[in-house]
């Protein structure tokens, strides 16, 4: 990713206090991974050129945009979870960036604070901070955490000692009183954001940001819809990347680029053009989020000759499937709509969470999946426990299911590949 033609950003990274040698090593590793994972795919849509460019400048141009925005008085807010409403952040005039937590980094330092048996996502989140290699974190004027699991909740206490952090309490049930409580958390967030930016969240600014973020989700919905076709017009890897980038890229520019990609995919579908043979096994993946740059399972599945046609996960349908109503005219109504939309997302942190199983079965049918892979990070208790019920429901729908528990390391790639290949042989 340190292309010789690219400008040198070391001065900027140094100003941010990054550990430059380690950061260079990280960029080189991610760049190498990106090349071998993405650029080796055949017949990719041309529209992926945008995401290739964004990724080549992931710690460069995008950081410079944030840097310049802050120099002109703007505020950057970092988030770790899709329950934190980007609409409110943008309505306060700030920019929202999702912070990556998808690679093993500085675990030696992390394990001085967190138990070894903590999920890879949380360890990575701490590792990027302690290792001083994430420019997004260092550009963030405020981080927003959320109580989506015990591990994150407690880890935020540690992260909050290192950086300005506000934690939102996400209820764990979906009764009317929980929606009302979540709405009150949104009100508190607005106060926090207004204090940070000096701007007021108004009906006008919120209505505009709701529309803007909905448009982003609509573009991703179009890509998802194109994946129903056989042959699949886009790989699972490329589709996953689009959602991963959605968390931190400039919203209007990203939306426009994804709509252009969707135009191309729709044309491919009409022309019967695909990235995999028509008879390639079609796989739906469900489970824990895959934060950037975690491409491990998609790569294994697609290297083994399968094609991933959907992700029922936070870096997938849970991010873009539901929209906020655009009918409201007052701030109060908009907050009602936001609270309702966000609590309608089916994360395993809720009890009960049968809606997720319905989503998995519906998506498997819609996408003509030949099989479902249930994916859980080790030590993610909520998803691991739900996995058994998901597997049972998928089998009851007469589809094969494979349950995988893993982390970000490469040590189990050989064994996982054999299991995935055997699964694909089974579903054929």
């Amino acid at each position: 990713m340190t292309d010789t033609a690219a400008p040198d950003y070391h001065q900027m990274w140094s100003e941010l206090g990054l550990d430059l040698p380690m950061h260079d090593a990280l960029l080189e590793a991610v760049g190498g991974m990106y090349g071998s994972t993405f650029m080796s795919q055949s017949n990719r849509p041309e529209g992926m050129g945008y995401l290739d460019f964004v990724m080549s400048e992931v710690h460069g141009l995008r950081i410079k945009e944030l840097h310049d925005f802050r120099k002109s008085g703007g505020k950057v807010v970092g988030t770790y979870c899709l329950y934190v409403p980007e609409e409110l952040i943008r309505a306060a005039g700030a920019w929202s960036v999702g912070i990556c937590a998808g690679a093993e980094w500085a675990y030696d330092e992390v394990e001085q604070i967190l138990p070894r048996n903590t999920c890879a996502l949380i360890k990575s989140m701490m590792g990027f901070k302690l290792g001083k290699v994430c420019p997004y974190l260092e550009e963030a004027d405020l981080l927003i955490g959320e109580t989506t699991c015990d591990g994150k909740k407690k880890a935020y206490e540690e992260l909050g000692k290192l950086q300005n952090l506000h934690v939102m309490e996400l209820p764990q049930m979906k009764r009317p009183k929980d929606v009302a409580f979540w709405r009150s958390e949104l009100v508190d967030l607005i106060a926090k954001l207004e204090e940070l930016t000096g701007n007021k969240v108004t009906a006008e600014s919120l209505s505009a940001s709701i529309k803007e973020v909905n448009d982003k989700r609509r573009a991703l919905q179009r890509i998802a819809a194109a994946r129903k076709a056989s042959p699949a017009p886009i790989s699972g890897l490329d589709s996953l990347l689009a959602v991963q980038v959605a968390f931190y890229d400039d919203v209007p520019r990203f939306t426009q680029s994804m709509n252009a990609l969707a135009d191309e995919l729709e044309k491919r579908v009409a022309d019967g053009v695909g990235v995999a043979p028509k008879d390639a096994p079609r796989v739906l993946i469900t489970g824990t989020p895959m934060a950037l740059p975690n491409w491990k399972l998609h790569q294994i599945v697609e290297n083994a000759g399968g094609v991933v046609v959907g992700e029922e996960m936070c870096t997938g349908s849970r991010y873009y499937e539901k929209l906020v109503s655009e009918d409201a005219t007052t701030l109060d109504e908009m907050l009602d709509d936001l609270a309702a939309k966000y609590l309608d997302i089916n994360c395993a942190c809720f009890t009960p969470n049968t809606g997720r199983i319905d989503d998995v079965i519906r998506m498997a049918k819609d996408l003509n999946a030949d099989g479902v892979i249930d994916y859980a990070l080790s030590f993610c208790g909520t998803y691991q426990i739900e996995g058994a019920g998901v597997a049972k429901a998928v089998q009851a729908a007469e589809l094969p299911v494979l349950r995988i528990e893993t982390d970000y390391s490469a040590e189990d790639v050989g064994q996982l590949s054999t299991r995935v290949e055997a699964f694909l042989e089974m579903v054929k």
Binding site: Q415, R419, E421, A422, M426
Partner: protein, 246 residues
């Protein structure tokens, strides 16, 4: 049509020459430090029109010999079904992994499980334990079979179990009882994996560890259905790989 089926495993490379659906020849060789060369020697015999490879070295065989590939799961399912058409499930304990497969009609895989990160309870585990006990593999199996009772060995991690075994030997515990305890703990682990995939009898027990009579006896005692052991336990995967070409 002459098919060479290769099963390139961590401990052995197994070959089956299938001529018009019939086994014409078979061979088993130690993988050594360079399994690809061991496989190449089988390929150089030139007694085939096509090659199908399985085992962890299958991708290497695809690069080196232009072999088609199939996973061990499918290969064992096909091989076991061809040898025993009534088989409802397969257990393969190899050099560094264990597979349990539940079969549907026609030798199709309906469910399977294999160990992921760790080689506990596999052939390699038994080799390390035999060395710690000062036995050959054959002596350890015989001692386990004749011991009156097993001593509980709590660790399944190869490294920790080896220390535990050394500790037991130092305390003067009978080596045969330790050997039996080790076999029993592998059996418990294996039976619970069989239960998880809903394996029914008859069960085909294949792979290198099925050459071990103490393991066969313990699995047969513990499993609810009939346990069938092929005459040549190590070539089931290579046979199945060759069959997959048809």
């Amino acid at each position: 049509m002459r098919i060479l089926g290769l099963d390139i495993g961590s401990r052995t490379v197994d070959a089956v020459w299938l001529h018009d659906g019939v086994i014409a020849d078979a061979a088993v060789a130690d993988s050594g430090f360079d399994p690809a060369s061991v496989a190449a020697a089988f390929v150089q015999r030139g007694q085939h029109d096509a090659i199908v490879a399985t085992g962890y070295g299958r991708h290497v065989a695809r690069e080196a010999f232009g072999a088609s590939i199939v996973t061990e799961i499918r290969a064992y399912a096909l091989g076991a079904h061809a040898l025993f058409p009534d088989a409802a499930s397969v257990l393969d304990i190899g050099g560094q992994d264990t597979k349990v497969i539940s079969l549907a009609r026609g030798g199709k895989v309906s469910d399977f499980e294999m160990n992921d990160k760790c080689a506990a309870g596999t052939g390699k585990f038994l080799e390390v334990m035999a060395r710690a006990l000062g036995f050959t593999l054959g002596e350890m199996a015989a001692a386990a079979a004749t011991a009156d009772a097993g001593v509980q060995v709590s660790s399944m991690c190869t490294v920790f179990a080896e220390s535990e075994v050394t500790g037991l030997v130092h305390r003067g515990v009978d080596r045969g009882r330790i050997a039996r305890g080790l076999h029993e703990s592998i059996t418990r682990r294996t039976l619970s994996a069989l239960k998880r995939v809903g394996a029914a009898g008859p069960l085909v027990f294949a792979g290198g560890v099925a050459c071990n009579p103490a393991m066969v006896a313990l699995i047969s005692d513990g499993f609810s259905g009939e346990v069938l052991v092929p005459a040549e336990t190590q070539i089931v995967g290579a046979y199945g790989a060759a069959l997959s070409a048809d």
